[in-house]
Symmetry: C2
Subunit: 230 residues, 2 copies
């Protein structure tokens, strides 16, 4: 799914060396600014391809400051995951727990929102978690557990919503909503990747359509085998 942080970037700027005069409204949100900028760049280009220089330059934060705010690129990356997860969790909460809608409509609303997010960035930005997951082969091992945990969290929220839908009769009884939720996030990450490749919304919408159509079939395990008489 796509995100939003770091859309507006209007940060500090100074020339002289040493500690600068305290900028008026700036508080100490330099760290946050770096995180938001980092998320924006990493969702587009990934971890390895994005240099600290580029992040700092766009955020207008001097290079020497980086190691004042973070220990290393690795720990910075972990912070990005946390920031992204927090942002995303608020979003999921808003949609999947929206009592004003029927459960399945909440899922649709969430998907609509994600599609709008990707469109807003011309399908150039993907999902930070998906990006980093694919890069794991070249990433610090510390990322793995964290990414996995984030996905499990999203799945848990989704499973809960699907259970409500099942209770409402919109999903075949006997379906494993945990499996369906896992299936959704496995596939959705694929759809985001594909949308980034095609630079268009078709894969997202196709995934939505077929996924929701499939919800009626379910009774997941049992039906699968009966189909071809295994």
């Amino acid at each position: 799914m796509s995100d939003d942080p770091a859309c507006l970037v209007t940060p500090p700027l100074s020339r002289r060396r040493g500690r600068p005069p305290r900028a008026p409204g700036d508080g100490d949100d330099v760290r946050d600014l770096l995180i938001r900028t980092g998320i924006a760049l990493l969702t587009e280009k990934g971890y390895v391809a994005t240099g600290l220089d580029e992040i700092l330059q766009i955020a207008r934060v001097p290079k020497g400051s980086f190691y004042h705010y973070f220990d290393s690129k690795e720990s910075f990356g972990l912070r990005l995951i946390d920031g992204y997860a927090a942002y995303f969790d608020r979003r999921l909460e808003r949609f999947l727990s929206d009592d004003a809608r029927a459960p399945l409509d909440r899922l649709r609303a969430m998907i609509d929102d994600a599609c709008a997010g990707m469109a807003r960035h011309a399908y150039r930005r993907g999902c930070l978690v998906g990006n980093l997951g694919q890069e794991m082969g070249a990433l610090p091992e510390s990322f793995r557990q964290r990414l996995h945990d984030v996905l499990l969290g999203w799945q848990a929220r989704t499973a809960h919503c699907l259970r409500l839908a099942r209770d409402a009769g919109d999903i075949a009884p006997g379906s494993s909503c945990a499996d369906l939720a896992a299936f959704f996030w496995i596939g959705w990450e694929g759809a985001v990747l594909r949308a980034k490749l095609e630079r268009g919304p078709v894969p997202l919408r196709l995934f939505e359509k077929v996924f929701i159509a499939g919800l009626g079939a379910s009774a997941v395990g049992a039906r699968a085998r009966s189909v071809s008489g295994e």
Copy 2:
């Protein structure tokens, strides 16, 4: 899906300078060796994170030779995609056109093969196309079309097999097999990504299970709307 090339690497080795004596069986497969080695490394670590030096070192090909065989890293990358696509196409052909099996069983056999491939490399290697797709934000634009075309090819083969399954009554009539095939590859790339993240087969098998279970439901477009009375 996972791949296989460059499992055994026992390449040329010489010390003296200048053109070496023609190795006995070697023919002129240095180019192929580089391609196979490149595929192996890129499926694991991606394009950006993999340096030419590393590829050359593993293949035991001297650095000075690279630009004799390829124009640049970019054109090398394009050759890798071609090589991977060719390899993969043979594999899809073998499974999806195996008249000895029922259509849906061919799909299952293909998935089994892919799972075995990923297991063989301890779930460290993914799909070259998926990897490069996710990296597109940092890749030469020339890769985009080629990657997309490869995926369309896989989908076409898959759609054909699904149509046979529909004719055999294993998929609800009225289903759009083109949509289902696209859905499969969108989601499967996500499953491979997730399996790489988790370093285990669960996502692959879960995706298989739910996807095949869903095939019974289908009549894709129509059913989707009737579910929640949109």
